[in-house]
Amino acid sequence: MSTLHTVNKSPFEKNSLETCVRLAAKGSTVLMYEDGVYGAMKGTAVADTVKTALKTMQVCVMGPDLKARGIDAAKLLDGIKVVDYSDFVKLSVENDKVQAWL
């Protein structure tokens, strides 16, 4: 069973990202969107959490949400894939289920 995990809250405001990474199975896809995209940046206090996820999971981040918040691709952790909202639809269909960490 493949699962798409989504996180849409800032990792500094809620612990959704941390819990997601702790509980998502290997081979899962994690998608950060809306305020969740702040978790994809280099050099933050939560960068190690995302690096842990990158070892066993595919980690994606929503491009239009990055752009809105002034986050340049150069500021992202290595290995994170930038996607758009039509990719979000594809990921939702390709995976067996979606777990939204609110």
Binding site: S10, F12, D35, Y38, M41, P64, K67, G70, D84
Partner: protein, 135 residues
């Protein structure tokens, strides 16, 4: 007794996920229009409100970040950014919009409004205020 008070607006939320940042900016501009002594603090995720290069065109929502550039014209010259919040997010002053004001007591020289301060410095600044509003 003077009717002018020292107002401090404390901004602690990221700009687009909730309406807090936009609402704060509206109230700030209204307060300044009533000739109050207004200063701003950006703490925690509030720092993200003044990040450079915001472009919301793909989301179809308003990019209100250019409005921060008008604060200087409203007489808001003290904008405090907490150093600890910047560091936690891997950001530096260079990542922020360079907010300026013209100093009328110094031949209208252009000066930086943003002051990066430590938590203990900010605590003292908060203590000097008469009205605190948190968004």
């Amino acid at each position: 007794m003077s009717d002018i008070k020292k107002f401090m607006y404390i901004n602690r939320r990221a700009p687009y996920g909730t309406v807090y940042a936009w609402e704060s900016l509206e109230v700030v501009l209204i307060g300044a229009a009533f000739d109050q002594l207004v200063s701003l603090a950006f703490i925690d995720d509030g720092i993200y409100q003044i990040m450079k290069g915001q472009d919301t065109s793909q989301l179809g929502i308003k990019n209100f970040s250019p409005t921060y550039g008008a604060l200087g014209d409203y007489g808001i010259t003290n904008i405090y950014v907490e150093k600890e919040s910047l560091e936690e997010r891997g950001l530096t002053l260079d990542d922020l919009i360079p907010l300026k004001y013209e100093d009328e007591n110094d031949n209208y020289a252009e000066k930086d409004s943003i002051k990066v301060v430590t938590a203990s410095e900010l605590a003292k600044i908060l203590e000097e205020q008469e009205v605190l509003l948190d968004f």
